[in-house]
């Protein structure tokens, strides 16, 4: 699903000094995996998320997504890839205000060409347990509900990859648990999930954890039950 080969990303500061955010990163994520990318702030995980999400291109190295080399795509083509292949979930939900739940879910379809399938949007809302909230304005929903609307939005164009950026960061623990349960369920249905976090507890839900430090991979190892199994067999 994801093949990252020796990518680097260097920003240029206002005075012209180069700032390396990612130095040399290589890893692969197979279809259907549930992986967390963990790192402290400033470790380079945002830069990596930008690149994995096709919002930015690496200064060096290649990034193949679903078999397609997207490292040199221009804005138009990257936008197309984002639209078809990636569903984003963010820490602060990022739903449009003064807009209903179902209208938010439909947004990705606006940029997919063709007509907007309201029936599909409603079905996905039902799938995340918000069938009865479709016509509510997002401000009328609780944090946990808002995040589930955001997940429904990420699923609208049926992308193979879900990119979640601290999805539980703004939720209380109960709501956080239910969101993580939903993501785990989506993973079981065969979706590839990459979750960016600094929180070890959240990371424990995944099967594998990639730890980033100073723009390099510090460790890449199995997690949770898989890790326990691995340790037992060792």
């Amino acid at each position: 699903m994801i093949e990252v080969d020796h990518i680097a990303r260097t920003y240029t500061r206002g005075d012209g000094t180069p700032v390396p955010a990612l130095k040399d990163i290589s890893f692969g994520i197979a279809k259907g995996e549930f992986v967390t990318i963990r790192g402290a702030s400033g470790s380079g995980k945002s830069s990596l998320l930008n690149i994995l999400g096709c919002l930015d291109t690496p200064t060096a190295g290649t990034y193949r997504l679903d078999g397609e080399d997207v490292s040199h795509h221009d804005d138009q083509r990257r936008s197309h890839v984002r639209n078809r292949k990636i569903g984003f979930v963010f820490q602060s939900f990022n739903l449009l205000p003064r807009t209903t739940a179902v209208e938010n879910v439909e947004i990705p379809a606006l940029y997919a060409g063709g007509h907007v399938d309201r029936g599909r949007a409603l079905a996905i809302l039902g799938r995340v347990g918000l069938g009865d909230r479709a016509d509510h304005y997002v401000t009328e929903l609780s944090g946990g509900e808002q995040q589930r609307v955001a997940i429904a939005r990420a699923l609208m164009n049926d992308p193979p990859l879900l990119l979640a950026d601290e999805p539980t960061g703004n939720l209380d623990s109960a709501a956080g648990e239910s969101v993580m349960a939903l993501l785990t369920e989506l993973h079981r249905e065969g979706r590839t999930i990459v979750l960016v976090t600094h929180d070890e507890g959240v990371a424990a839900h995944a099967k594998r954890e990639i730890l980033i430090r100073d723009g390099l991979i510090a460790s890449d190892r199995p997690q949770g039950r898989d890790a326990a199994t691995a340790r037992q067999s060792a």
Binding site: S46, L49, N50, G53, L55, D75, Q76, R78, S79, H80, R82, N83, R84, F88, F90, Q91, S92, N94, L95, L96, R98, T99, I107, P108, L110, Y111, A112, R153, M156, N157, D165
Partner: protein, 407 residues
């Protein structure tokens, strides 16, 4: 996103933020309304000025000869005119300039006291040759005009204007009545047809006409004219006629270069052109003001949109993340700006047309809606919107999505 969907989307977005949309529209509305109204009122004024001028000057197959050089302004009267146009000049023009059919002459004086019974007035007095009314194309409403016999006998007869008739005689039949001009008894012979108001807005009916011979010998004791009208055989050749008359008068007045003419010869067409030129300069200035108003409206759109862009960074981030390209975002914001200014323009046109109708009705002008001004305003509104939306749209397209979404 396709365009119709984007327009629909823009309408929804704008309706979600009504107050901001209202202020964005307002600037363009004011600009376009004033542009439409000023251009139309300017046009109406110009048309009305033309009409009044025509009324004042009468026919167009004449040239006007006035005493004094080209710097002389205003209606020449006996007190302001140099005594240069003599009866010999009029006779010479009539007989020697082939293009001229006949010459009418006038002695004009302002504010002469007249009395009838216990009523008095001070109209202007015109001593005119018998052919004056014919040359000017003026009508007698009642009674008779000045005849050649009146002139030869220096008869004390007068043809009075409508204002004067009302003032002195009221409901009485004025024909045959005796009244006094500067203490000299005259008899009313006729009433001039009303000419309404002149280009300056003053009535042209507060006047009376007497035979020019009577005026010069019995009333004013002056032997020069304040104006002559030369009627042409061929109105198409007025430029030629003007040159011929000038040459003749220079010869008769002994003017040799570089001496300046002590008279002026013009055509009514030239006089109208001068006045309407002033009018169109005025309407150009007004249109300039309206254009500036519209541009200020554009600046309001621009600054409000820049604020909107920074408020909507999250929304932009979301749209980018789910597949909007920078171009999609740019188009979205440009269309919002265009929709706003077009809507503002439409409202402005409605207000402008309404304002024009009200203004022309109040000023008793013929209603003149200038469609070219309306089309121009609408076009300008859209262009202003697009141009002013450009910078905000560019900024929107360049919002960094992840930073926006994480804030």
């Amino acid at each position: 996103m396709n365009i119709s969907r984007t327009v629909g989307h823009a309408l929804r977005t704008l309706s979600r933020n009504r107050l901001r949309s209202f202020f964005m529209m307002l600037g363009v509305t004011i600009g376009v309304a004033s542009l439409t109204a000023l251009a139309s009122v300017g046009e109406a004024t110009q048309q009305e000025t033309m009409r009044r001028f025509k009324r004042m000057l009468g026919t167009f197959d004449i040239v006007i000869i006035n005493p004094g050089g080209s710097s002389t302004r205003g209606m020449p009267s006996l007190t302001t005119s140099p005594p240069v146009l003599k009866p010999g000049d009029a006779a010479a023009i009539a007989s020697e300039v082939a293009l001229v059919k006949q010459v009418a002459v006038m002695q004009f004086a302002f504010g002469i006291d007249v009395e009838y019974a216990d009523k008095s007035a001070s109209p202007s007095v015109m001593g005119v040759s018998p052919n004056w009314n014919e040359v000017r194309g003026e009508d007698i409403a009642l009674g008779e005009g000045i005849t050649a016999e009146d002139d030869e006998t220096t008869a004390r007869v007068a043809v009075i204007g409508e204002d004067l008739r009302r003032l002195l005689f009221g409901g009485e039949d004025p024909i045959g009545k005796q009244f006094r001009i500067s203490g000299v008894p005259f008899r009313v012979k006729g009433v001039l047809a009303s000419r309404g108001v002149g280009p300056g807005g003053a009535s042209m009916d507060n006047t009376l006409a007497i035979p020019v011979a009577t005026a010069s010998r019995r009333l004013f004791n002056r032997d020069y004219y304040t104006g002559m009208l030369a009627q042409l055989r061929d109105p198409e050749r007025s430029a030629e006629a003007i040159e011929d008359i000038k040459a003749l008068l220079r010869e008769r007045h002994g003017i040799v270069p570089p001496g300046e003419d002590d008279f002026t010869v013009t055509s009514p067409q030239a006089q109208i052109a001068r006045v309407t030129d002033i009018g169109s300069t005025l309407s150009r200035v007004m249109i300039g003001v309206a254009v500036i108003a519209t541009l200020i409206g554009g600046a309001v759109i621009m600054s409000l949109m820049l604020i909107a862009v920074s408020e909507r960074r999250r929304e932009i981030g979301v749209r980018r993340a789910v597949g909007a390209s920078q171009r999609d975002i740019m188009v979205q914001f440009l269309i919002e700006a265009a929709v706003i200014s077009f809507a503002g323009g439409l409202v402005g046109i409605v207000l402008g047309v309404g304002g024009t109708l009200v203004a022309t009705t109040l000023a008793k002008l013929p209603p003149a809606i200038r469609w070219s001004a309306i089309a121009g305003s609408a076009l300008m509104a859209i262009v202003v919107g697009l141009v002013c939306g450009l910078q905000p749209a560019w900024r929107a397209a360049n919002v960094a999505p992840i930073q926006a979404l994480r804030s």
